[in-house]
């Protein structure tokens, strides 16, 4: 009877396997949901979810699916007391009624429940109509009906999904902007073990000992391919100006990059507005600490993965270059030419935006964004997008 819920969850992007679903059914059989909706919710969480990033979307999905069961009208204290402390009666399960109730939809159950709430004035146990315990009506507690509304579960009255209606896990949603750990995690996608491609071999000490001992002491040399990350990363960070408001976020990303010690090589340069004839080596973009763009980049092999970090929002003249700036101050070319140079110099490059572009099309400050997004694929700074960006960087050319 819960298959609808499975289909609903899968349609909402929860990749739940049949095995997980069967495990949930096994849990229900064993009563691990403690006969309450909250218990069922917790059981689903334990069995169906695999990551904290799913917790908030799952809560919403669950609520969406079952919200029709939520009481509109709160049952009276008296009614709850009967339900909690029923007079015990034995053997009240009517198979016909069982079948009838099976086909009740959540909406019908809700309507009937509201109706009974208005009518009911006394205690009912073991019946099939009123809200009571142990009986066949679709309402109440400890009943035998397959479907219906649980009113006072597990010692405490639980008002449907109110107990789980909290935002606790909102932090982990995949589309949220990231913290350091998440950045680091994302960066681990940029990994390519040399053993997969390299042709050189090195002495495998462990293997040699083992094989030698296996042969009763006759020396047997074993070789293996080294396992090192071969990824080389080249990062350009926009510093200052319109990026000031994203400083915290960029600092976090920077820390994640610089702490990731698993790259074969990592170069980080800064630029102001756009990349021109010089690259800054410190975020302050001081003229004393710059290097010649062309010389620097020419020394790097084309297999460096290039990552730009910037909002791509600048005055169009900074990109397209007015004559004066282009020739005097910026080493002969406008920013656009430099970006194209970098794109063509390296095999793979991507642009990370601290925030998804929100400016309307055709607005003045958006022009530079539109131009740059034609040069570099753009990704925003969410887990989902960052992973996409790294996957893109890892794809073969």
């Amino acid at each position: 009877m819960l298959e609808g819920f499975l289909v609903y969850l899968r349609n909402r992007g929860f990749s739940i396997s049949v095995e997980q679903w069967l495990t949930l059914m096994r849990g229900l059989e064993q009563g691990l949901h403690r006969a309450s909706l909250t218990g069922f919710y917790q059981l689903c969480q334990s069995v169906l979810l695999t990551s904290e990033t799913q917790m908030d979307p799952f809560r919403k999905a669950f609520q969406g699916y079952f919200s029709s069961l939520e009481e509109e009208r709160q049952p009276s204290r008296e009614l709850l007391d009967w339900l909690r402390n029923p007079e015990r009666i034995e053997g009240r399960c009517d198979p016909l009624q069982l079948l009838e109730n099976r086909d009740i939809s959540p909406q019908q159950a809700q309507e009937l429940f509201q109706e009974r709430l208005k009518e009911q004035t006394s205690q009912h146990n073991g019946g099939s109509y009123w809200i009571g315990t142990q009986g066949m009506s679709p309402f109440g507690r400890d009943g035998n009906s397959l479907r219906g509304i649980q009113v006072a579960g597990a010692g405490e009255f639980q008002r449907g999904f109110q107990a789980i209606g909290r935002e606790e896990y909102a932090d982990f949603r995949q589309d949220r902007v990231l913290n350091l750990r998440q950045f680091q995690l994302a960066f681990r996608r940029l990994r390519q073990l040399s053993s997969q491609q390299e042709t050189s071999w090195e002495l495998d000490v462990e293997g040699t000992i083992r094989r030698t001992c296996d042969q009763g002491g006759l020396l047997k040399i074993v070789h293996a391919k080294p396992r090192k990350n071969t990824i080389k990363l080249l990062v350009f960070i926009d510093s200052g100006g319109s990026m000031d408001s994203h400083r915290g976020l960029c600092a976090t990303l920077f820390q994640a990059v610089s702490r990731a010690n698993h790259f074969q090589d990592l170069r980080i340069y800064y630029f102001h507005n756009c990349v021109y004839g010089h690259l800054y080596t410190t975020p302050a973009c001081s003229l004393k600490r710059w290097v010649d763009t062309k010389k620097t980049l020419e020394a790097l092999s084309p297999d460096y993965k290039v990552l730009f970090l910037g909002d791509a929002t600048m005055d169009p003249t900074e990109l397209l270059g007015s004559r004066y700036y282009a020739h005097m101050a910026r080493g002969g070319s406008g920013g656009l030419e430099w970006l194209l140079y970098i794109r063509n110099r390296f095999k793979k490059s991507a642009w990370i935006l601290p925030q998804a572009m929100t400016l309307p099309e055709g607005s003045y400050w958006r022009e530079s964004y539109d131009i740059i997004s034609n040069i570099f694929p753009m990704f925003s700074m969410t887990i989902e997008d960052l992973e996409k960006a790294f996957r893109f960087l890892m794809e073969p050319v």
Partner: protein, 274 residues
Amino acid sequence: MEWFQGSQKYVADPHLASAVQVAQALEKPLLLKGEPGTGKTSLAQAVAHELGLPFFLWSVKSTTKAQDGLYLYDTVQRLYDSQFGTEGISDIRRYIRLGQLGQAFSSQKQAVLLIDEIDKADLEFPNDLLWELDQMEFYIPETGETIKANTRPLVIITSNGEKELPDAFLRRCVFHYIQFPGPELMRKIIKVHLPDLEEQLLSQALEAFYWIRGLDDLQKRPCTSELIDWLRILRLEGVSLEGLEKALPFAGVLLKKEEDLEVLEDAQRRKNHA
């Protein structure tokens, strides 16, 4: 079966206790995630202690291989022995050393096995354990023996999320994320560790602690174990309550990074100013 509800030494919130129950009942490994210092590792010990079960700890490192948990064939020792004509070298079983997983399987009584920080190992590590954790058995080709668990051990796995675990592995686990405890639960936890702590000191320290955790720019937020250390020092040094109000002494116990201490200083200045 006995169910774990928390213990005198380990305060488990109801969600966690129910996740342990689900794992016990469904005979699936329990995968625990959560901020460092939220008691992921100590849960397994508490469960074993409370239910009176033998406890095996397999602490995973970056170089750990799945094989290490199963068994090790000590060929070097065997070769060494052979040089001196030690008896019994023809019996390979003498040189098979069971790993933590192997020991948990062969335990007479149901065991609790903690696989700690599984995310530290190679990306493929969890996949290499799928069969063993599913079937609770493994084969030793050197001796032709199969080690099979009499009773399925309760397996608890912790991860700090440094690496993503493979889907196939995740689907076989009961998942629980340990939420950082709120002030109420934290109070209970502190009471367990420092039963005779002054009420007023505790209240003030908790207030300061949650204020620090709430600061935006921290790189590493302080957690439970750091709070306990801090309280110990505050008590040991006899810091007065007024002292705690004005400044935060020994903040270095809570915050380990210099940048974070600067963030705290700034925040305090702003707070005192306001």
